[in-house]
Amino acid sequence: MNWLTQILSISFFNLRALPERKGSALSAAFGIAGVVLVLTAVLAIAEGFKKAVTATGAPDVAVVLRSGSDSEMNSGLSREETRVISDAPGIARGSKGPLTSAELFVIIDLPKRSTGTSANVPLRGVGANAYEVRGNVVLREGRFFEPGKNEVIAGAGAARSFAGLEVGSSIKIGSNTWQVVGIFSAEGGIAESEIWTDASILQPAYKRGDTFQSVYAKLNSPGSFNEFKDALSLNPQLKPKVARLSEFYADQTTMVSDFISQIGVMIAVLMACGALFGALNTMYGAVSSRTREISTLRALGFGSGPVVVSVLVESVVLSLIGGIVGAAIAWIAFDGYQASTLNWATFSQVTFAFAVTPALLVQAIIWSVVLGLLGGVFPAVRAARLPIASALRET
């Protein structure tokens, strides 16, 4: 009998005997499933958050703030300055002139649907070109707000997470009432966490005079960014801070995403250790309960290599089952799960969906295989080293 047939026959024999050891086999598989589930779920939070941030910034959109400001909260630009910015080279042009949108960013209180407690929801005043600048704003329900009226449209994430944002309802902010006329989506980006209205209506409501906080600009191409930035920086009328939208949001949210991934890695590493101990226990148990069987095989002429491989195969099959089950549960339970958290840079809520991506699923399965190999290797070596004569005598 050659080596391969030996491996196949022992492995097949072991696997067929698995039902007899249901308890321990299931517990090992469950252990791995638990790890994979937790790991995938936590990484899905980070992944979903990252997706919201990256979907926000197309590479050809730039944002201009006042120099020295880290977020829109502390920026301020006069109307004159926003005009100068709109005239800069590198900006794409639409039917209504350069594709720029001068915007205002304030925060309002709305009750969170899940808890009923109040949350800081961003309210953004945008210019007429805002949709074209972003390029990914799609109306889901209702209509866009009419300029000059107290009307708002709500991002899909905001509408899901916070109460009072249904089309037709109205929200009261201070002494003003605003009608919700539409719900929009923006490919899962941060804009979906926001409520939009006409900037010129927001200015008096928040006593902002004729000022804005940021200018969003659509560039001719991603490569025009440097031209645009240089032109603005050299303009003596301005002291601007120019950033690509994607980088701008990524910078703002590093604190949150670092925190999620730190916690995630900590939990995953610990869980993996726990599962590894469980798998080792199971496989040691499997080997020791079959001591006589294994030595009989050896006595019959089976090599120690095939014995090692067969134990490994069993361990990997068990953890693979566990890994697939865990990943499947994570996918069914958490993919698209809506959550929101606080963006510390602007003190406002960011809504996002957990994203169990195919990459995460593959990663989960690889993890489970690695755990299976690690959990099987020591017991396998032990099985191969069993001295045949004494092992046969063992009860």
């Binding site: 407690t117 958290t341 606080l342």
Partner: protein
Amino acid sequence: MKFLSLVIGNLKRKKLRTVLTVLSAIVAFLLFGLLCALKEGLLAGVNMADADRLVVRNKITLIQPLPVNYKNRIANIPGVDSVAALTWFGGIYQDPKNFFATMPVDPETFLDVFREYPVSEETKKEWLATRNGAIVGESLMKKFGWKVGDTVPLTSPIWGQPKDQAAWEFKIVGAYESTKKGGDTSSMYFRWDYFDEGKVEQKGLIGWLTIRVKNKDQATAVAKAIDAEFANSPYETVTEGEGAFASSFAQQIGDIGTIVAGVVSAVFFTILLVAGNTMSQSVRERTEEIGVLKAMGFTNGLVLVLVLAESCAIALFGGVVGLALAAAISEANPFATVLPSFNLPHRDLITGVLAALALGMVAGALPAIQAMRLQIATALRRN
């Protein structure tokens, strides 16, 4: 106690298995402890909240400011003992990663309202005499290696830099500790007059007010009186208990409680299976022996207790070591920037030990009952 050696002997039988089982229990309880500490850190504000304190903020949102003269108007409302005005400054030291809670306050009213941060008389005098003086929490001092007397430059993501200067410069006049366990000592408080002069925008406006009421039973009535005082003004207010204020803030960070509970249960379920399975395996292997014990006159009850003792010993040992590790890690606080008060309260330690005991009982129950019901004749005949 005379059977202790028997229990220990059984545990030593398959050393590797016992060690692995104990290790997995350690991991489970370490995780449990860390997650409790995490939850504690996220809910720190809620737990630290004082029943006789109220928070007054702008009705529109916390971000909208209030006029500074509200402080005096509120101080005159009956039932109000003292009023402190705070504003979120969000100091950054050198690198955006070094971000911590920094707030301009008026030293006297601040120290009066926040009595859990006592400072010495000299520090207080020094602070009142130094315009750019600041008091800094112990853990923040340690983190950056600051000393009293140092001058530190900070910038703010909200307020930028002061007029004509590259950064705000603060002189540390003293360090403060918290008299409450788990209190936040990673913040910095500096003088509002210095801040108001330096900032370019929102002069004369403050972020929110924290109030100490004379009698906590009247807190609700005082809160109503405050909101009524400013109703229909350009700056309407919302006044709520400090706990409610903090918890709405904690909830904004995310529904961490649910996630924590979910993870803990997943871990426990997993470990329970592993430990329970190990226990039943070791009992199954000893069937013959248990038969001998019974033949020697060991009662069914005693056999049950022996098996349970074995599984409880494993679970308790793992639990205690795991919780101790978690306590040590939370003491060192790896998440100091985000969670200033990452600590493991005694309550959770006790819960953890009880959970370990419960784990031992549940995991041992099935094999123990099997052992108890085992017939001597069957057991001895098995092999």
